[in-house]
């Protein structure tokens, strides 16, 4: 538990506020428009990838840490960052391999856990 000793509370606060605000933008989109959840996720991931490609999102990540990478915009940023990194290393082919490579952990985990959950669990009705 030695990580607790030099715990960066300010960083955590920045993360909390930034992450919260990004979610508030999503909530306003849900309530004010007729966008379905799938469309909202697409808007966020695409915005994140574009801002990531333009280098703007990097500032937010430097500022807020997980507050910027955990929301789905961060997923898009991660894809774009990976693609650029891939291009730097392998040229054109890197544009195709880089993005998915950097997001591979998340995608694979979601697929795997999704399969496991379907094996052991059954959907239930919302009681309330």
């Amino acid at each position: 538990m030695d990580w607790l000793q030099n715990f960066d509370w300010l960083q955590l606060l920045k993360c909390f506020v930034t992450g919260g605000l990004i979610c508030v933008i999503g909530q306003i989109l849900i309530d004010k428009t007729k966008l379905t959840p799938a469309r909202i996720l697409v808007v966020f991931v695409t915005t994140g990838a574009i801002l990531g490609g333009l280098g703007i999102y990097q500032y937010l990540v430097d500022f807020a840490g997980a507050g910027a990478t955990v929301p789905l915009t961060g997923f898009g940023y991660n894809l774009a960052k990976g693609a650029i990194k891939g291009v730097k290393e392998f040229g054109l082919i890197g544009a195709f391999t880089g993005g998915v490579t950097s997001a591979a952990g998340g995608i694979a985990a979601a697929v795997f856990f999704g399969y496991i959950a379907s094996l052991i669990s059954k959907p239930k009705m919302k009681k309330e």
Binding site: L12, C15, I40, G55, A66, P71, G76
Partner: protein, 154 residues
């Protein structure tokens, strides 16, 4: 104005009649739940940093842990209650992405493991991957074009 005079009039009339979502309450809940989920991610980052794990790997570790928690809560039939309360607060973080993959897999289990679970797994999250990956490839190609003329975008 009589509401049934034209379709347009009726739509305006219905718009006025329909209650709006309690947006302030929803935004408040989305704010603190979303912030909390991100903070859990940040704490995991701190632990990783302390153990000397590289930044890239730490990010993946955060994703996998949050996706795991989300999948677990979905499987326990709890995530939809959190989602109902928090709205975008649990949808926008990576937890919502995981939930949108796990929930159809559970739902379509009754159609079998191959075409049900396997086939329907991406009914909600598929578009996220399609648009996310396509955008990243375009970003990569644009970067390549500009970079050869030594103009960097980053």
């Amino acid at each position: 104005m009589k509401p049934l005079d034209s379709k347009k009039d009726y739509q305006n009339y219905v718009e006025k009649k329909s209650p709006n979502s309690p947006i302030l309450k929803n935004c408040f809940n989305a704010f603190w739940v979303g912030g909390l989920i991100c903070s859990i991610g940040q704490i995991i980052l701190f632990i990783c940093k302390n153990r000397g794990i590289s930044q890239d790997i730490s990010g993946t570790v955060v994703s996998i842990i949050l996706i795991g928690i989300s999948a677990f809560l979905t499987g326990l039939n709890i995530f939809n209650k959190i989602g109902k309360f928090a709205g975008a607060g649990s949808l926008i973080p990576i937890t919502g992405f995981a939930n949108s993959i796990v929930s159809p897999s559970m739902e379509y289990k009754s159609e079998g493991y191959v075409m049900g679970v396997g086939g329907k797994m991406f009914t909600v999250a598929g578009p996220v991957l399609v648009f996310g990956i396509s955008t990243s490839i375009i970003v990569g190609i644009i970067y390549l074009i500009f970079n050869t003329q030594s103009i960097t975008l980053v």
